[in-house]
Amino acid sequence: MIETRGLRKSFTSRQGREKKKVEAVRGVDLDVAEGEIFGFLGPNGAGKTTTLRMLATLIEPDGGSATIAGADLLKDPGEVRRRIGYVAQGGSTWDDSTAREELVLQARLYGIGKAAAHKRAQAVLDGFQLSEYADRKCKTYSGGQRRRVDIALGIIHEPKVVFLDEPTTGLDPQSRAHMWEEVRRLRAEGMTVFITTHYLDEADALCDRISIMDNGAIVASGTPAELKREISGDVVRVGLAMDAVAPAASALSAYKIETYDDSVRLYVEDGAVAIPQILRALDAAGVPLGTIELHRPSLDDVFLTKTGRSLRES
């Protein structure tokens, strides 16, 4: 449904008198199958949004190729526009318009006739449980309601693919769960959903496949389970006092280790076997232990091994 090869984009940023060329996206290959919920992960500044905006025809790629829903992005962006929906991160509704007005206008901008546009608007209002507020001004809506209107606007023309840029950022947990349901419903209606997110638990729970982007390039792709399996074994996290991190790291240098301000993370074959050994090693080195916990690798660990940093810090 989406296939890109070597998609590139660079910007010139000006710092004082010097012009600097920034390669925001340096050759992205993506393959998204029909009917998938595809997650696109990466820290801020990784090039996620630039990639998304290229795929949504909002900015022109410098090079590479892409086919979206059967239309060529570079040769026929007009056709791509007809076949996709795009929901931006920052919202898209006007304070003084009502949800119904916005939906009817959006449908008509896609070339749908007046009567049909009203019908479609009513259908999506029902689908997104917005009928009750449909004729109130958008400025009276809650954050979650407004976000649902944004998504309704993005799919009013029944696109084959819909791009959602961080649809749950800034929502409370209940609205987030609600949004996940909406995303699954879109897929059930036959849409392919391309979603960017900051939340690894979201990617894990919601997405069929994910790609991780860092520094303008894809560093890993696969199903969440596959990616986690790539990191063999378990993760042991040892909580320590701040000044104990360095001695602990040297005592445990035999393991694959990541150090943090107040802890170290060890990647081991088998946690149950490793934990007593770790305890003994720390004891022998005289390092006072805070806490110790064992867990299966999470997407955060995948992220850490692929990009060298945690998504939370970035």
């Binding site: 931006a88 898209s92 304070d95 959006q106 901008l109």
Partner: protein, 251 residues
């Protein structure tokens, strides 16, 4: 025709939002009426004319051109608010004509300017202004072209600078010399030669002269077709340029 359909969709939305908030009519008419009441009486002696009617014949067209220029130049602020709300981006992912995104908005501005101009003309009739209907309609055409140009220009610049903080000083800097060098408030007939020479390079000065000729009833004056032609060419250029900004604007 797709362009017509898209333009009317955008126009209808913008007009509806404007009418929801009719305060603009009051604000838009209040200031010019103040000029009519408080400034125009000074003109009879200053312009050395015999009657009030003659003074208004000179002053009202200038006032209308002034409204068209300023009304248009400050429309960009509304667009920046729309950019921030994401409305423009939402339009740009649809197959809607980019030219229509601009024209729908600019035509809304033209219509509201003409509405303002009609009210002011009617009020000026109370002060003994007399003008032939045909000439008046041509003068309104001139005003429409001016406002189409300045509003398109303002939208294009708004898409480039994307912030009110940059737009406000920019527009003021442009508007002030344009205003002073066009003989809008007082005709430049008594101006020193060098000032008239500079004003000849100001397209709005031609527009003002043309509009004044129309109010005078001098339909055959060369200023009329010259002013209309210059404004038409500049309006088309401004519209095409601003529509291109709608097509390629990056956030």
């Amino acid at each position: 025709m797709k362009l017509l359909r898209d333009t009317s969709l955008i126009f209808q939305r913008q007009a509806k939002l404007l009418l929801q908030n009719p305060v603009w009519i009051l604000v838009g008419v209040f200031q010019p009426v103040m000029y009519l009441l408080l400034f125009a009486p000074l003109l009879k002696p200053a312009l050395q004319v015999q009657t009030n009617a003659e003074a208004y014949e000179i002053f009202v067209p200038g006032l209308l051109v002034l409204l068209a220029i300023f009304g248009g130049l400050f429309q960009g602020f509304g667009l920046i608010a729309e950019l921030r709300a994401g409305v423009i981006e939402r339009s740009r992912v649809t197959p809607v004509s980019r030219l229509a995104l601009l024209l729908g908005r600019s035509l809304r501005d033209v219509v509201s300017l003409i509405a303002q101009a009609v009210i002011i003309t009617l009020l000026a009739l109370l002060f003994d202004l007399r003008v032939f209907l045909g000439n008046l309609l041509l003068a309104y055409l001139m005003l429409a072209l001016i406002s189409l140009m300045t509003s398109a220009l303002s939208y294009g610049i708004a898409l480039l600078v994307k912030s009110e903080d940059a737009l406000a000083p920019l527009m003021n800097t442009v508007a002030q010399p344009v205003l002073l060098l066009s003989g809008i408030l007082l005709p430049l007939t008594h101006a020193p030669g060098w000032l008239q020479g500079v004003a000849n390079w100001n397209p709005f000065s031609w527009a003002v002269n043309g509009t004044r000729a129309l109010f005078r009833g001098d339909l055959g004056a060369p200023e009329v077709w010259q002013g209309l032609l210059i404004m038409a060419v500049l309006a088309v250029a401004a519209v095409l340029w601003a529509a291109r900004e709608f097509a390629r604007s990056v956030r």
